[in-house]
Symmetry: C2
Subunit: 496 residues, 2 copies
């Protein structure tokens, strides 16, 4: 001890010493976290934007951020009713203004009544404002054809992200061979891999079947589970439906099979259903895990543990910035549920404006309300345009040689597969880049189009993909898709 | 394996089986988390409120929540300018309304320009909107008498809580005797103990000196550090200034001594400065750690690692529900800083309305702006009333026999020490309660006053305290303080 202090004083005299917190010494789990959606490609996009602003000449005039599911960043306008009520909540002086419809005022007053000090500026209870939990429960009941939902099982959150992390936290235990394993789809939304890395849990990959439109196959779940049991204790299964980045919408049969599997294998189910309003394909329909589970009856309905997540960030409203969301837990052990609440209370509460927004999303204007017609028209317009863009994306990509794209049945992304010539793969390896990262970087530099390489989400060895949102306005999207297809052809030629 | 599957099928046939996720099997670190500010006493307060609403007769007509630093929940009105600009941001249609001052409109337009899609509904970059980071940096420079602040070192967060947890996460490493230890004050704000428990770090307690108005004593830091080195590797030191729950404001000399100590002992400094605008006592002044560090010059200024936290929840605005906050890091290793950004990006971004609010807090109206006079008047009124309430609290408590209370120099709480008669302590032990929890529960049941027992924050063995906010309106606070003092006298009599 004495000598180390001596060394230190020496260093101090020299005016030089190592940092206390270094890359080597920091939390190794945090180091292992990867997060592609906002990774190096996005860094580069930011730099390019700056260069453009500084007048640097580029082969494009703007950077198009097709990397993230952020509708309003792509120009989608907020739904009028939602913003009217929120403005009234933020500044209640407006309640006397003649410029707001009556139902918007009533809704704002109702929300404010339920807030501490009748203000969005008070902390709420950690599980979220009680009235809003009740409204969420009623929404779930309507969505699920009357199957009961208990507000006690609904917890509001800071976006769905927060709730997903919280539930995963509860599940992590054990060391070495008994460490918690969590099954996640590949390709996945990288929140899952990042959170498991941070928590020190074991990520157990199950592959979605690209040949069958990214279907989830129970045989593959079995394979993944059996292999994982050699080195960890699998305790949970995550499903994303509709899928990100893969855009598939699961059939009812598939969901039943997954529930049976989880039940037999004693896995806690996490159903990421943030895209539940984003279903476009004819013949596709959203089935909530909760509803299917309840309709399956005993022994599943009363026992299978499930957490279902929803968000204000997606759907028709795309209110990402407000960070609203919730989780409904089903059949969760009561004592564990208490522990979850305790954990949530450490961070005090989710943002109250996001809670208020969630309230409006789960209880929109009724047909007899003055705001109904406009609300409905705006909502339908967004969803109809998304459906058209989903269709267009699939079409244009599938016309391009070397690109193949499954139907975008739901969510907000296409995840096309691209052929990359062997010489391009070699070149990427020389540069120390994943081949699809190399492709996406070149795409960005030459066209300004920012998409995320498939390697950020996971994909079968030797296949290459990228994720592109369908969010740019229709005509712009068409140009983008064509530009991207032409770039791929040129890139292929260049390396052939 | 086969037999366990057999057992399971048996259980399935019986329709009975254990939960996958149980209290025994869940994350043991989460189980160890404690969070008193929203613990059992608050649960009971909620129940009492419900009973009152149902018409149950009680010796009081309302529950007074003096347990949490939530100004607006206690009736404080939001600052007009802040809410005007926010309403304009939320609903930009209002920009054409004549009912908003010009400077509010300009500020809203400026913020919206900096948002994705010019909307609060887009995700921001994970570190927060660039313009707002720049405004925060300029605020810090003004606050610190011109010492430079770099926006690159400012990261916006979901309340200060989020940033504190993030920085602590980076620091946690090691196993057994090399586990990261973090020094925290006792009494402390329980976010720290809860987070360290969750992260599996070692909490190293240093005691504030109640006899000297809760001063921080470097000799005590030394003692705590030396003892801790036997069983962990102390790497960080947290300081809360102004103090929660203790209300002390540190002197410049004290801060210098702490910085020298941290430097010599190679500790990363975390300065929780969320109450920087809440200083009331004559002779007390807020000194930021950053400013003092920089003014100390070499070798400290260029090397000592520091993270300083601020929030929109406290100060004169008390906008807790918006969850705005930031951390400024100083001398952090560049690669570690990259890792921090990566970690933040997993949860996408802090709530954008909270970011916008933070922007207004760090760059309020200038003297030449139309909103200046009203803004200034409202701000001063809040701060003057808080100062009066701080004084009143100290006075009334110190007049009560068996209660002694240090001056509330800053922050929003008193943390008086109460004598509890030995028979009350015995009775509490019979009930399995901490003696001050017993006192606070009885207080709640008989008076409706909800305060948090000192045991939730930590205190010297054998001493008893509670934390009470100074936030209720002045006249109400006076009644509360008197009621509480009378209850203590009665309680003492009852158990003597
Ligand atoms: C599948 C999925 N889950 C969860 C989230 C998190 O969204 P948020 O935290 O904004 O609610 C996203 C966001 O893109 C997502 O795609
Ligand atoms: C000392 C201290 N730090 C941090 C916080 C967190 O505040 P918030 O997350 O609302 O910014 C609080 C809240 O009471 C506090 O008292």
């Amino acid at each position: 001890m004495a000598s180390s202090t001596g060394d230190r004083s020496q260093a101090v005299r020299n005016g030089l010493r190592a940092k206390v917190l270094t890359l080597d010494g920091m939390n190794p789990r945090v180091r292992r976290v990867e997060y592609a959606v906002r990774g190096p490609i996005v860094q580069r996009a930011l730099e390019l934007e700056q260069e453009l602003r500084q007048g640097v000449k580029k082969p494009f005039t703007e950077v198009i951020r097709a990397n993230i599911g952020d509708a309003q960043a792509m120009g989608q306008r907020p739904i009028t009713f939602l913003r009217q009520v929120l403005a009234l909540c933020v500044n209640p002086d407006l309640l006397s203004s003649p410029n707001f419809p009556d139902d918007a005022k009533k809704r704002a007053e109702r929300i404010l009544q339920a807030c501490g000090g009748h203000s969005l500026g008070a902390y709420s209870v950690s599980s979220g404002i009680q009235l809003i939990r009740e409204d969420v429960a009623r929404y779930i009941e309507r969505r699920d054809g009357g199957i009961p939902a208990d507000p006690k099982n609904v917890f509001l959150s800071t976006g769905a992200s927060d709730a997903i992390v919280t539930v995963l936290k509860l599940l992590v235990a054990g060391e070495g061979h008994t460490r918690t394993g969590v099954l996640i789809p590949i390709p996945q939304y990288p929140l899952y891999s990042a959170t498991l890395a941070e928590l020190g849990a074991v990520q157990v990959d199950y592959y979605l079947d690209e040949e069958r439109a990214w279907a989830l196959d129970v045989a593959e779940l079995h394979r993944a589970l059996c292999q994982a049991r050699d080195h960890c204790r699998p305790r949970a299964l995550c499903v994303i439906n509709p899928g990100n980045p893969t855009g598939q919408v699961q059939t009812r049969e598939c969901i039943e099979a997954v529930i049976r599997f989880a039940f037999e294998e004693r896995l806690f189910l996490l159903a990421d259903e943030v895209y539940q309003d984003n279903v476009y394909a004819a013949g596709s329909q959203f089935h909530s895990f909760k509803k299917v589970l309840m309709e399956m009856g005993p022994p599943y309905a009363g026992q299978q543990e499930l957490a279902s997540f929803h968000s204000t960030s997606k759907g028709y409203m795309g209110e990402c910035g407000f960070r609203g969301g919730y989780v409904e837990v089903v059949n969760m052990d009561a004592a564990v549920q208490q522990q979850m609440l305790k954990l949530m209370s450490v961070r005090l509460c989710p943002p109250v404006p996001g809670q208020a927004l969630l309230d409006l999303v789960v209880s929109p204007p009724a047909p007899t309300d003055p705001s109904f017609a406009q609300f409905q028209a705006e909502k339908q317009a967004v969803l109809a345009e998304l459906a058209a863009k989903a269709k267009l994306t699939e079409q244009v990509f599938n016309e391009a040689p070397g690109i193949s794209c499954n139907p975008v049945q739901g969510a907000m992304y296409s995840f096309p597969r691209v052929q990359l010539p062997p010489r391009a793969v070699e070149r990427a390896q020389e540069l120390g880049l994943a081949p699809d990262m190399f492709f996406c970087l070149r795409l960005l530099e030459e066209t300004g189009i920012c998409v995320v390489p498939g390697s950020g989400f996971g994909q079968r060895e030797g296949t290459y993909h990228f994720r592109m949102t369908i969010l740019p306005p229709l005509e712009k999207l068409r140009l983008l898709l064509e530009k991207l297809s032409r770039f791929h052809a040129k890139f292929t030629l260049e390396y052939s």
